[in-house]
């Protein structure tokens, strides 16, 4: 440990700590900066983070300095403020300041910094600016505005160090220096939109999000990406019930500061035309909208005390609580339960890599194992369904799309579909119950590390769709069960009590980065 005095306060830091991080701790806020990023190498090119270190002849940049015993640092002196002001003015020499049409406005480093360190009486004439290319589509997802770039090199370092694809570079020198893609290439790696996140200005913008919404109108909800078994921490940005984008939420234990491009697209399914908005019942051969009382009456007749349920399958896309409650419901209704991958089963196996993307596209497969549910392979599943008599209950999955032999196995039997979209299983079902999609409810996921993380409700459910756990609890009550939860915290306590791995874990008070149950007991943080 080394002792450092920052702005008159003596603090201790581990040897090797960057002075930038030390100042952030001491000040409670970061120094002004563009190029520093905790998950990238130090470039030290923007010169904004200069601080005064006693004994040094000139100001020094904090990001490229490590703490030393006895260092005395000033971050709020007039000299430091003047330096930041002048540097910012330099960054603005050729900046177009077209904030009204810039998608970054509202979350722009230049705007934010200028509020504190602006010169306001600019010393640079507008007409002398060097103009560069605007609206350059440099890849399938990213648009570059060369004028707005402050040449912090974050995007270049990201492509060099994180994806190691090296598409981007800084070309030319002086005031002609600009970001560009290597000749004959495109910024088309699987993580390209992270460059948009880390670009401190509006030089890199997302083709998908561009002009859809001004960012100051958005509200953010901490959540999890449901795109694969990695379970990246994300934030859902939404307004008036519509989700506009997903952004990674920094979680060093899982995804660092990144997420993949494919995961960012998953918000679209929330607003698909095929969303189920009301209960549907098969009448005269066709699915027709029904009211909830009608749906309940039909459900009770199809799978109640009078007519025992035959078989129940659940998708590993549902949350831990939902799978647990569903398995319990199946037991009460007297049916065996199993897991089955949702969507086309093949779609659950995608391309993986050693960065974040898992080939397993189901976000919660580990929970199935925790709850003692197996996942029979396609033909096996059909055989087991055929062996059981009575109605078939499907939750969140789409076995009719591709599980071999499924359609034959359920032919002539009542199929109950609990889900969010009008998929093949819903189309061929007799009773279709509309429930909430992932951003419309609270839920826990267990990722491939065995880490339990919480996803939070961001928006309202469409139409008459019900909250999953409430629907399942209501059904349990209707089926005469003695054990059913009265609230979500109640449900989580009940789940923790049923899963041996979760002994002693309070599922209602998970840390923001989630936790790996075994690792907690062993005292390890759980590295990725």
């Amino acid at each position: 440990m080394v002792k450092v005095t920052i702005d008159g306060t003596e603090l201790e830091f581990a040897a090797g700590t960057s002075l930038f991080d030390a100042c952030r701790t001491a000040r409670g806020e970061a120094l002004p900066h563009f190029c520093y990023h905790p998950d990238l190498s130090v470039a030290g090119v923007c010169r904004l983070c200069q601080v005064e270190v006693e004994g040094m002849p000139k100001l020094t940049i904090a990001c490229n300095t490590t703490v030393r015993e006895g260092m005395v640092v000033h971050t709020r002196s007039e000299k430091v403020r003047r330096a930041a002001q002048q540097i910012l003015e330099m960054h603005l020499i050729n900046h177009p300041v077209d904030c009204p049409i810039c998608d970054q406005a509202g979350e722009c480093g230049l705007q934010d910094q200028y509020m504190t360190y602006g010169l306001y009486e600019s010393e640079v004439g507008k007409s002398d600016k060097v103009h560069k290319a605007k609206v350059q589509v440099i890849g399938p997802r990213v648009v570059l505005d060369k004028e707005r770039c402050v040449l912090c090199s974050r995007c270049v370092r990201f492509c060099d160090e994180v994806t190691r694809t090296g598409e981007l570079g800084i070309f030319n020198r002086g005031d002609r220096a600009e970001i560009g893609v290597a000749p004959g290439r495109q910024l088309d790696n699987a993580y390209s939109l992270n460059t948009v996140d880390i670009c401190p200005v509006g030089a890199l913008t997302s083709l998908d999000f561009r002009f859809k919404k001004r960012v100051w109108l958005l509200r953010s909800t901490p959540s999890l990406c449901h795109g694969c078994a990695t379970g990246c921490s994300v934030r859902v940005d939404h307004e008036a019930g519509t989700v506009y984008r997903l952004k990674p939420r920094r979680n060093p234990a899982v995804n660092g500061a990144w997420m993949c491009d494919e995961g960012r697209d998953t918000y679209r399914e929330l607003h698909a035309d095929t969303r189920l908005r009301e209960p549907l019942l098969r009448r005269d051969g066709a699915l027709r909208p029904a009211t909830w009382p009608e749906a309940w009456a039909t459900l009770a007749a199809a799978a109640g005390p009078a007519a025992p349920l035959g078989f129940a399958v659940v998708s590993p896309r549902q949350s831990l609580e939902e799978i647990a409650l569903f398995a319990h419901l199946a037991a009460v209704l007297g049916a065996p339960a199993a897991g089955v991958s949702g969507g086309a089963r093949e779609a659950d196996r995608g391309e993986g890599d050693d960065l974040l993307r898992s080939a397993d596209r189901a976000p919660n497969r580990a929970a199935l194992a925790w709850l003692g549910l197996d996942e029979p392979a396609g033909a096996d599943l059909a055989a087991r369904v055929r062996a059981a008599r009575g109605a078939v209950l499907v939750y969140g999955a789409d076995p009719a799309a591709d599980a071999p032999g499924w359609r034959e196995a359920v032919a002539g039997r009542t199929v109950i579909h609990l889900g969010t979209h009008r998929n093949a299983t819903a189309e061929s079902a007799d009773i279709v119950i509309p429930l909430g999609a992932w951003a419309e409810k609270d839920g826990l996921l267990v990722n491939r590390q065995g880490r339990v993380q919480a996803s939070r409700r961001a928006i309202a459910r469409p139409g008459l769709a019900q909250e999953d756990w409430r629907f399942l609890a209501d059904w349990l009550a209707a089926a005469g069960a003695t054990e059913f939860p009265a609230s979500l915290p109640d449900l989580r306590r009940w789940v923790a009590g049923r899963v041996p791995a979760l002994a002693g874990v309070d599922l209602n008070a998970l840390p923001p980065e989630g936790l790996v149950p075994g690792a907690v007991a062993a005292g390890a943080g759980g590295e990725r």
Binding site: D98, P100, I101, A133, K134, V135, R210, F211, K212, R214
Partner: protein, 165 residues
Amino acid sequence: MNGKVHGYGGKMTLWERLYLGEIFRGLGITIRHVIRNLLHTGDMPTVQYPEEHRAYSPRFRGRHRLMKREDGTPRCVACMMCSTACPADCIHIVAEEHPDPAIEKAPASFEIDLLRCVYCGLCEEACPCDAIRMDTGIYDLAADSREKFWVDKEFLLNNTTDGTR
């Protein structure tokens, strides 16, 4: 009130109570005004609305208009400053990519719900491009359905001072 008010609480004189005399006096006043107005029509204080409109101050905030560029396309760049500033939340803009990269952003649709508008002028003030103005002087809004008060981009672009009301 301290002053004496005729006919209200106070005692009426005999002449007043005789009724007819006062009636003719009142008719006389009316006829005098009619004749004077007929002889000096220019001095009449009545504005012949709706044929005539009173001249308002140039600062008066009337129905909005959208300004055009020289080529006739909207000057608005769909920055949403006006709709953000609007306290009535009645400006609805959908942005789109402009083919010219120097302009970059343009409104695909621009709608104002005039029935919700409180004519505060904050939209005008917020606009960085002087693209929305309330200087048309148009204050008489009348229509036979609510939908007609929901005006679109085309309407606002052609809503000039001398345009159709």
